[in-house]
């Protein structure tokens, strides 16, 4: 009983392994880049912040003109 079971599993392995080997030469390998992917979203956010605070900045500096 055990022997039969083992050989059955062995047969499955063979069945799976053979198509994989056949497919391998046609594979397209995709490698992960060695550098992290960085998306520079903070540039736009910063620009928006700078526009938003522009008037505050003008007023603040004019009220403290002695140190600017």
């Amino acid at each position: 009983m055990e022997t039969k079971s083992r050989s059955f599993t062995g047969a499955i392995r063979m069945v799976v392994a053979v198509p994989m080997l056949a497919v391998l030469p046609g594979c397209i390998s995709v490698n992960a880049p060695d550098k992290p992917i960085v998306i520079e979203l903070n540039i736009n956010i910063k620009q928006e912040v700078l526009y938003k605070i522009q008037q505050d900045v003008e007023n603040t500096i004019e009220q403290n003109s002695g140190i600017f």
Binding site: I43, D56, T60
Partner: protein, 130 residues
């Protein structure tokens, strides 16, 4: 009655002006030593909103710049808190204005990081500056 009150205010203002005590912070002038250092190109406006020493640092120059930068940081911190942005962003926004407002002959930090001398042409500023 209103007229009398306004006259009183005017008299007080005139008295203060006569004593040379200019109370309004908006009218505050630069310290003469600071103005002289700007004119001489010994200090320059940096992109980050603070002053920097151009060339050789002397103890007096270092003290003056540090002192002004500490005061600037306090102002930026208050402004940032009111605007709900980081102190760095508020300071950077101020740097944009400080560089824009430099007078001809004064030093400022160009986007590459090097010191530049302001000419009559617009200064070179960070592309994010409003």
């Amino acid at each position: 009655m209103i007229r009398f009150k306004s006259n009183g205010v005017l008299k007080v203002a005139a008295a203060v002006a006569a004593l040379g005590l200019v109370a309004a912070p908006a009218a505050a002038q630069r310290d003469p030593a600071y103005q002289a250092a700007r004119d001489a190109g010994q200090v320059g406006e940096k992109m980050d909103g603070y002053l920097g020493i151009v060339g050789a640092a002397t103890p007096a120059l270092t003290k003056m710049v540090n002192d002004l930068n500490i005061q600037r940081k306090a102002v930026y911190t208050k402004g940032a808190s009111g605007a709900g942005v980081t102190v760095e962003d508020f300071a950077f926004g101020s740097g944009c204005k400080n560089i824009r407002d430099t007078a001809v002959g004064e030093k400022y930090q160009a986007p590459g990081g090097a010191w530049a001398t302001r000419t009559s042409a617009p200064p070179q500023r960070d592309s994010r500056c409003p």
